[in-house]
Symmetry: C2
Subunit: 173 residues, 2 copies
């Protein structure tokens, strides 16, 4: 099973931090790869690469301007395309159907998402039908998709590892 | 039961969008109130107020520079203080204990959180022990805390309401 995330419509200045959060959430909540599309995302990509080097795990992040090619490629490989949007069907109603698919491409937009994305998606899915955050929508979607098991994920080859602690900050080798 | 969120250490320029996302997530995932602390958060507060007017629900957002007073006030009223931090105990291990409390103050920090917050918190809680996003941590924490029931929440008095849809954008009156 491969779970990829496509971050659409990145704007260099305005979205730098939000896009970084999207990428880090993809990694922390069990996705295998994130692709950032839109304007140049060099800064976001390299800060995520640094996190991967330090905190481990097999996660790749890249920039690709051509989101349409990625969506069409996913369709061709019969990967399920799930577009997260507040307008979509409720996650609690469709997540088990989505889970039945082997490989999934989860699409999260920025401000404006082209009509074509809604059409190409196998599922348009909402996490609450309220305006909030693509970062939160992605996290809760992946959490539901993996049924909470992603919280137990091990990140191999980490230089830095935390030991959960009630008060302090504890690290292990 | 009252669930409040305290956003710590807001920086006017740098955190404007992230803080807005934190506030909107607090609202969408069932909290009653968010308090933003740190530097002036006027812009974030007013954009959240606009969302509340349009999308309904009984949710308040305010700015208060004095986070210590809020934490000590919560302690005095015997509200449980839950500080979300990647260093904390795992959410999957402690959420049922947290749920037993009537009133909860959930604290989410920005870059640097003062030592005192870790000490004043009844629980320091991590959502994965990986670096990602306070927006995502808050969403998944509230989702776990409310056991997914927050996804069914109705927002009374909304001027705008969505009807979940597999393709288009559907609104109701």
């Amino acid at each position: 099973m491969v779970v990829r995330v496509l971050r659409l419509g990145h704007r260099s200045e305005r979205d730098r931090r939000i896009t970084t959060h999207v990428c880090l959430v993809a990694r922390a909540f069990g996705a295998d790869e994130v692709v950032v599309s839109g304007e140049n995302a060099g800064e976001a990509v390299s800060s995520v690469e640094k996190i991967v080097l330090k905190w481990g795990g097999d996660f790749s992040v890249k920039f690709d301007k051509n989101w349409r090619k990625i969506l069409l490629g996913a369709k061709k490989k019969k990967h399920l395309i799930v577009h997260l949007t507040m307008y979509g069907e409720r996650v609690q109603d469709v997540v088990s159907a989505v889970r039945a698919s082997k490989d999934v491409l989860v699409v999260v937009g920025a401000e404006k998402v082209p009509r074509e994305v809604y059409e190409l998606a196998d599922y348009n899915v909402s996490v609450t039908s309220q305006p909030h955050s693509e970062v939160a929508a992605l996290a809760v979607f992946l959490h539901e998709f993996f049924e909470g098991k992603e919280l137990e994920k091990k990140f191999e080859g980490a230089k830095l590892k935390l030991i959960p602690s009630s008060r302090g900050k504890k690290f292990s080798e």
